[in-house]
Symmetry: C2
Subunit: 451 residues, 2 copies
């Protein structure tokens, strides 16, 4: 018997020292964000009340590589480089000739990929003298990450959590408080945006964003942080794909045939996929790039590519993106955090350019894949990456039919140890699918402003 | 600014291939277990109804090194070698000249060190043709680990969980079921041992052991697995200390000055400490070795060194160990899993030989240390290793006073993501200390049989 290698590790000294900005390599630039009142393109100064200038400059940068500050690298090293696993036991269980690799971000302090951007965001805010950051959180991964990063740099973190998740996941609140953060149920009574809804409303990410933005805009020593969607957030996440490319090489692979990631706002997907798209544009690899989203919140596959607000109250700039409508509220039975009403503008643009594909999957299919993964690989996935795992397993089974030895790379962007309620729901047979109906879709799209 | 290294990793190819059996190096052998009826030393055949012969031979072995089967190494590689961290951010926060290293076992599929023994135990049972394993679990780490290992080798797992934990930790049950295991609240109505207690009794580890042993003894295709206490369990855990020794060398250290581990049944402590004790006995290092236990369940520091049963119903052999009495039930408010009435016979013997020290700590002091650790190092510790962390911080602060640059090595044997209820209790100020009273101790000791 030969011992098979499961993990491909990098030393801390081999960690990439630049983030990759895909805007530099795209055949056309993404459409600019517009001022919500004038509908004119906004400039850096328009964003200054919410973000420190270094992050704004990253948001609009066209430089290909942006150096990761040493202070950020220092913190990344608490858990990075993250491991790339070869899913040998899953491959055997499936009987597939495909070689499946998963990049695992669950080793981070928050258990997901979110600290990759929380740490630099807090760092740049700390450098600019900011005292407190506000943010929203859905399932809680992002709020946990921001609270963790704020603890390290000595900032306060004030977090509005989507009401439905706040009620269902008390342990996320405790985790945020363990890291020293303050957390409110959204809609709260602390903001005008929140008070516009009844206190027991289940909330939405868009509404929680409105609350956090409203509070940040009122005090110059307070700024706002977003966990996905924006260019600088996706930029910070590219360390995932940069590491994965190095690790695939270690594994003896010349490239990927298929790169699969789940999408909510798009930061995990962009983080893994953008460096692979660079390789594809440069002709060094030719992978198919595929985003997988929940059938209950299918912004890429069923949303319209239009200018819309990033939040419910219409406080943010208008961004051109695949949207279901800014006041869309996905069914609260959906277990995962992939519940944002729109897709990151940069990913929406790349999708329109034909550089990637998208697919929607029902949640019970996702959890069936999750159970198979847990019982072979030993890791219990977060609900979000189960979408990517379901598609990975489906592709691996197709390889079994065709005999193709495809190299499939996927992002296991977090573990599910704080989402066991969803597993309980699945194992007890109580979980249902909740694909978005055409009537609900049309009603939600009716709120998209005409620009 | 120089980038500081936080993690010391080993490749899979550098993983130790032998477990270390400390019995081979002790100046005197540990006292033998006795038959519960005859009080005569038992032989391998007496244990055959409960364990497969390969594990029984390990239990009584005097060989210094026992090879790790390739099938077990293969599974270990899903998460092993585990990282050794240098706690640089904690050191800075404390202002200590001490160098603090922690060996982190939370990267395992179950989130603790327990799979290190679950995997070989299930492997040897599978090899012997066993169909099902029964076991007990307290906080749930061990039950999760056995269910995980059974999933990989195709065995059934049937688990009795201590009633108080079963009621408080529904997510542990879900995790065990995610791995395919079956779980019962103990005392259950399925066994004579369980039916001797009212159904709503909070239970104890000793009682859950009685239930699991009773079921295993009735069917030749079913055997029993124990997650701590026994020699073969401690043996399997020595991979922790063996890896830590290699990693300390990578970090440029010539040895440890202080090795600190938490103790419940003793498997995590033994796993880290035994290889260091070997180095000490051989004169290659001279570390102080210290066990830290909860003040609410202080078997080493306040128990008596006598023959006692391993379970409540008196079904197991008599073992000479530091015991509080086999029907001792620690206060259910204690958050952690360190609730066994006695200490592993091997550790008890080593303690009597003067090769190690022991100390008891109150749980609010442990959680204060845990919060400081989480906010600096980013990892939320399980309640059990917070005992070792509290002592580590206390020693590091002593170094600040004395100026000593001690090398402190501790075992972070698991993460606390499934124990956030305990953190909530601490952060809200509701957590209390519950040191064992002298009256309760004397009452519990009165049940120890006269041998």
């Amino acid at each position: 018997m030969t011992l098979e290698q499961h993990k491909y590790l990098l030393d801390e000294s081999q960690m990439p020292t630049n983030w990759y900005n895909i805007v530099a390599d795209l055949p056309s630039p993404p459409p600019p964000p517009l001022h919500p009142g004038t509908h004119q393109p906004i400039g850096p100064d328009d964003l200054a009340p919410l973000f420190p200038m270094e992050l704004i400059l990253q948001e609009v940068s066209t430089e290909r590589y942006i150096p990761i500050p040493e202070e950020v690298q220092q913190v990344y090293r608490l858990w990075r480089p993250s491991p790339l696993f070869r899913a040998r036991r899953l491959e055997k269980a499936l009987g597939t000739p495909a070689r499946i690799y998963y990049k695992y971000e669950g080793v981070s302090p928050a258990g997901s990929h979110k600290p990759n951007t929380a740490v630099p965001q807090v760092y740049y805010n700390a450098k600019a003298g900011v005292r407190k950051l506000t943010t929203e959180t859905g399932a809680g991964q992002w709020g946990t990450s921001l609270a963790f990063a704020c603890a390290l740099f000595g900032l306060e973190a004030e977090i509005w959590q989507v009401g439905a998740s706040y009620d269902q996941k008390p342990y996320r609140r405790t985790l945020i408080e363990t890291f020293g953060g303050t957390i409110h149920r959204s809609p709260s009574r602390l903001t005008e945006s929140g008070r516009a809804y009844p206190e027991d409303h289940p909330g939405s990410l868009g509404l929680a964003i409105s609350e956090a933005v409203e509070v940040a805009a009122q005090d110059p020593s307070v700024k706002y942080a977003l966990g996905s969607v924006l260019n600088h957030v996706l930029l910070h996440q590219t360390i995932i794909g940069e590491e994965a490319l190095l690790q695939l090489e270690l594994a003896g692979e010349t490239g990927a045939d298929l790169v699969i990631g789940c999408t909510g706002g798009g930061s995990n997907f962009g983080g893994l996929a953008f460096p692979f798209i660079r390789e594809k544009l440069a002709g060094r690899q030719s992978p198919v790039i595929r985003a997988v989203e929940p059938a209950s919140c299918p912004s890429l596959t069923r949303g319209e590519y239009r200018y819309d607000f990033g939040d419910t109250a219409g406080l943010t700039p208008l961004m051109k993106m695949h949207t279901l409508g800014h006041d869309f509220v996905p069914d609260p039975i959906h277990a995962g955090g992939l519940r944002y009403h729109a897709m990151a503008p940069l990913i929406s643009h790349i999708y329109e350019l034909g550089l990637m594909e998208a697919k929607a999957i029902n949640q019970t299919d996702c959890f069936a894949a999750a159970i198979q993964f847990a019982r072979t690989e030993g890791i219990v996935p977060a609900p979000e990456p189960t979408h990517a795992l379901a598609e990975t397993i489906s592709e691996a089974l197709a390889c079994k039919e065709s005999g193709e030895e495809k190299v499939i790379v996927t992002a296991l962007c977090g573990h599910g140890l704080l989402d066991l309620g969803a597993y309980e729901s699945y194992l007890s047979g109580r979980m249902t699918d909740n694909p978005l109906s055409e009537a609900d879709l049309q009603a939600a799209l009716a709120t998209v402003p005409v620009v």
